[in-house]
Each structure stands twice: as C-alpha cells, then as structure tokens.
C-alpha cells in the first residue's frame, strides 16, 4: 500500500465516523455515557482540519497526525486509546511512503498492544480490542472480509463488559454492541477497501 492509498484509508474512515456519529453515541447511550460518536467526530474533524495544511506525508507521519488529533482533542477513553494506537503504528511504520502487508500487520499489532497496555484490557472484555485482535488475525491469514468485521463487531453484543464504562453495568451490558468496537469496525472496513 502506498501513502496515497494510506491517506485514503483515513479519509474514508473519518468520513464514515461523521456519518455514524449519532449511531455511535446511541450505542454508547445504551451502556455508557452516550458520547462516543461526539468524541470520535471531534477527533476526526481535528484530523481532517490538520490534514488540509499537510501534503505528501509519510505513512508514519500520517499516523502521527491522526494519533495526535485523537490524543489532544478527544478525551474520554477512546481518545487516548485510539491516539496511542495510531502513535504506536506511526513508530512501527517509520518514515516510509510504501508498506508491505507484513508491515501493516506488524503496525496494527503494535497498535492493539498499545491499546491493551493503556486500557489494561484483554480480549472478550467487550472493548474495541475484540475487533482489533481478530481482524489482525484474519489479516495475517489474508482472509479478512467485510462480513467478518461485522461479525466481530456484533459478537461484542453477547459479551458482559468487564472494562470501560459499560463494565459498571455488569450483566445489564449484555445484549448491546460495544460502541468502540463499532468505530473500530468502521476503521477496518475502510482499510479493506484499499488492500
């Protein structure tokens, strides 16, 4: 993937986030505090604006730009989690304009590790990790499809949350899709369009 496609990835994702803003907040309303859509929209808007003045960024710098936007504009849990994931990816990619499939997998792995480190969470706790990990798994096996991503997102529904704000609901969190998983699903479905 070259840097033009890479930038397109974030372009598609960020516009998808704007489109699904209300839906993301509604999901968060059910088991959290109803701001996930607003949080994410604010972060991606900051990225979109910052992007206007930048041209021909390396893939690493592109990741850094979106990471810093999330980190400095979003707040909440998702801001620093997405932020540190993108920053870890930036570090993993480095100053390049073309990446291989393996580099992509390695960077995403660094990203999810950063999320897990910051969020002190692992799989099946009903967080975005439940999308990142299986997506990376499937990417490795080169068989990721949109349907799979949707099912990873939907599979957070039956889980009982043990991390994040939804964890305070205990059993009452069961039956609702995790909002951060939904926004991560959008991220990977956008990626799928370009690889």
């Amino acid at each position: 993937m070259n840097s033009v496609d890479f930038t397109k990835w974030f372009e598609i994702w960020t516009s998808e986030i704007q489109t699904h803003k209300i839906h993301l907040s509604d999901l968060d309303n059910a088991i959290g505090d109803g701001d996930h859509g607003f949080n994410m929209a604010k972060g991606v808007a900051a990225y979109q604006e910052a992007h206007l003045n930048k041209q021909d960024l390396s893939i690493g710098d592109e990741c850094k730009l979106i990471g810093m936007s999330m980190l400095s504009k979003v707040g909440g849990a998702s801001g620093p989690l997405y932020g540190s994931a993108f920053l870890a990816m930036a570090k993993s990619f480095g100053d390049t304009k073309e990446i291989t499939h393996d580099q992509l997998v390695a960077a995403l792995t660094a990203g999810v590790e950063s999320i897990m480190y910051r969020g002190k969470a692992s799989r099946y706790e009903k967080t975005m990790i439940d999308v990142w990990l299986p997506v990376i798994e499937s990417l490795k096996q080169n068989n990721l499809t949109e349907e799979m991503i949707d099912s990873f997102v939907n599979e957070t529904g039956p889980l009982k949350a043990t991390k994040g704000r939804a964890a305070y609901l205990g059993d009452r969190s069961i039956g609702h899709i995790d909002p951060g998983s939904f926004s991560s699903g959008l991220l990977f479905k956008a990626l799928l369009k370009l690889i």
Partner: protein
C-alpha cells in the same frame, strides 16, 4: 432540551470564561487551555490537581484555591480531559514539591491522567503521584473489572488532601494518607430525572414519572435498581444499610455524612434527606461528627442525591475538613 445556553459546542469554553471572571479573586485560566488554576502561589507546597469531564459543577474548578486544589482540568461535558490538557494542569500546579493527582476511577480519566503524568515526569522532571477515588459502592468492584466508580466522595478527598498540602505535607505523605482515606468512604446515589448533555440534546436515559434509579453514576450510567418513587426515609435507610455493611461501621464509631445534590434537586429536599440520614444513624449509635450538604458533585441538571459516609479513622481528617479555604464552592 431546555437550557440557558448559546451554541452547545461552546458551553465548556463559555462556562470556564464565566467561572474565572466571576471568581477572578481566586482563580484564573491558564492561557487558552482548559485548566483553571489558583491565584495563590503556594510555593514549595505539593500541587493538587483534579479534573474530569465538565457537568459536575462546582466540581472541580469551584474547589480550586488556597487550601484545596491547585488546578482543575475541565474536559468536555462528561468526557475526561485530554492528555495534553492534564499535562498543562500538572505544569501549572508544580511549585517545586511535586504534584498529586486525584483521579476518579473511569477508564478515560485513568488513561489520560496517567499518560499526562508520564509526560510531566519524562519531559519536565516533575514528581507526580496519584490516587484513584472509587467510592461508589453501587457497582461491585473486583480486581478483574474496572472496579467502582469515583463519585461525590472525591470532594472530601480534595478537601482533606488540600489541607495537608497547604500544611506542607510531602508528596509521599499525601499519597499514603490518600490510600487510607479512600478505603474509609463509600457513596450511593439515586436519580429522579436524567441529565442532558448539551451536545446530545436529549437525556441519556428515561425514567417514568414515578420511577427512580438507585446507584446511578454521575454521568447517567445506569444504576443497580429501578424502583417506584418512595419516601425519603426509606431511601435513606436503603443507602445506610448498604454503606454501613460495606464499611463495616460499628456502634460508637464516628463518621462524616455528606449529602450531595445532583444539580436539579433543591436544598429543601437535601435537608429533608439529611434529616432522615441523621435520624437513622442516631438509631444505629453512629456519631456524625461533621455534616456536609449541597450541590458539590453534580450531574448537570439531574434531580437526585447521593450519600457519602467517611469513617473518621484519623482525627486530623476533621481538622482538615474544618481548615479555612479560599475557594468558590466549599
């Protein structure tokens, strides 16, 4: 949504401006950050920093001033402030003896405050330590989960640690005391009506005309039980039963009782509730050494109330609570 507002997206900016202009004898805004810092220098003393989402006014900026917080970091409504804003707060609070962070136990707050702490330590060589307040016993805690939420008890932590810092306690002393303190308190809240986040424009949950929710969080997170509205006495009894059991409070012990209004509940009801609380505690022969009341850790316009009991394990906590402060809202 019926609110006195201009554009919902400007609410935090305008609120901070109104706040620092109103209390300009006590606080100021640090540049164009979301940090409200005290005018009083407190050189050589540990700086106390708190913060979190906005919508809990007067928390946290209303407690900034001599004898309490050095700075408060104001996030968006019900959203933890960002890493760089907390970092600015730490820098503003550092007066040479280190900075102590009072964090409420929410994933977002924890991550943002922790990352900011690391930044200040790495980039500015500031000694930073922290406590994570988790007084809300509505949600069961276990080491495998998020544990309990931080709610109104945080205000007592601010007051007690603030007095210690003012009296020149070291960062380690404050850290040690904070860990003892948070283990001696427990809070339960209930809501009659929901809060509306300005940007959302609609309530996060609905309650029927005769319904209340027990154990609701200060951001409208669902609680442990929905019930029909019942008498103040019965609500006080339910809270006290649970809190007494949790803290294993025994006859003859001394506590601080803090009745906190959620924002939309008038003082009239808070006093009625306090009256019931005191009567029940009297019946249990638990001595209420200090009583605190009012809208201190709110949830925007939510109607509701919370009760915090703090066992007075250290007599000096009472002195710290009584110690003079110069803040807007204590």
């Amino acid at each position: 949504m019926k609110k006195i507002l201009n554009r919902p997206e400007d609410v935090v900016e305008e609120m901070i401006n109104g706040l620092v202009a109103t209390h300009d004898n006590i606080v100021h805004r640090v540049g164009d950050t979301r940090v409200v810092a005290r005018n009083y220098e407190g050189n050589g003393k540990v700086g106390l920093v708190s913060g979190g989402g906005s919508g809990h006014e007067p928390s946290h900026a209303g407690f900034v001033g001599k004898g309490m917080l050095s700075a408060a970091v104001c996030g968006d409504v019900f959203t933890s402030p960002t890493v760089d804003q907390v970092y600015e707060g730490i820098k503003a609070a550092d007066k040479g003896a280190g900075v102590f962070l009072v964090i409420k136990n929410y994933t977002g707050d924890l991550i943002n405050f922790t990352m900011a702490k690391e930044m200040a330590e790495d980039m500015d060589n500031i000694k930073v330590d922290s406590v994570t307040v988790n007084d809300d016993i509505a949600v069961e805690g276990s080491t495998w989960t998020e544990g309990r939420r931080g709610v109104a008890g945080t205000v007592l932590v601010h007051k007690i640690l603030g007095a210690m810092a003012e009296n020149n306690a070291t960062l380690d002393e404050i850290k040690n005391e904070s860990e003892i303190l948070i283990n001696e308190m427990a809070t339960l809240g209930l809501a009659l009506t929901p809060a509306i986040v300005p940007q959302a424009g609609k309530p996060g949950f609905e309650l029927a005309d005769d319904e209340i929710e027990f154990g609701l969080g200060i951001h409208g997170e669902p609680g442990y039980r929905r019930a029909k509205l019942h008498e103040s006495k019965a609500m006080a009894q339910e809270f006290i039963d649970k809190i007494v059991a949790e803290l294993k409070l025994k006859e003859g012990e001394e506590v601080v009782a803090f009745v906190n209004g959620m924002g939309g509940t008038p003082l009239m009801e808070q006093y009625v509730f306090m009256n019931d609380v005191l009567n029940i505690l009297k019946g249990l022969n638990i001595h209420v050494t200090r009583k605190i009341i009012g809208n201190k850790m709110t949830s925007i316009e939510m109607q509701g109330i919370s009760l915090t009991l703090l066992r007075i394990k250290n007599k000096r906590w009472v002195e710290y609570l009584d110690q003079e402060v110069k803040v807007a809202a204590w």
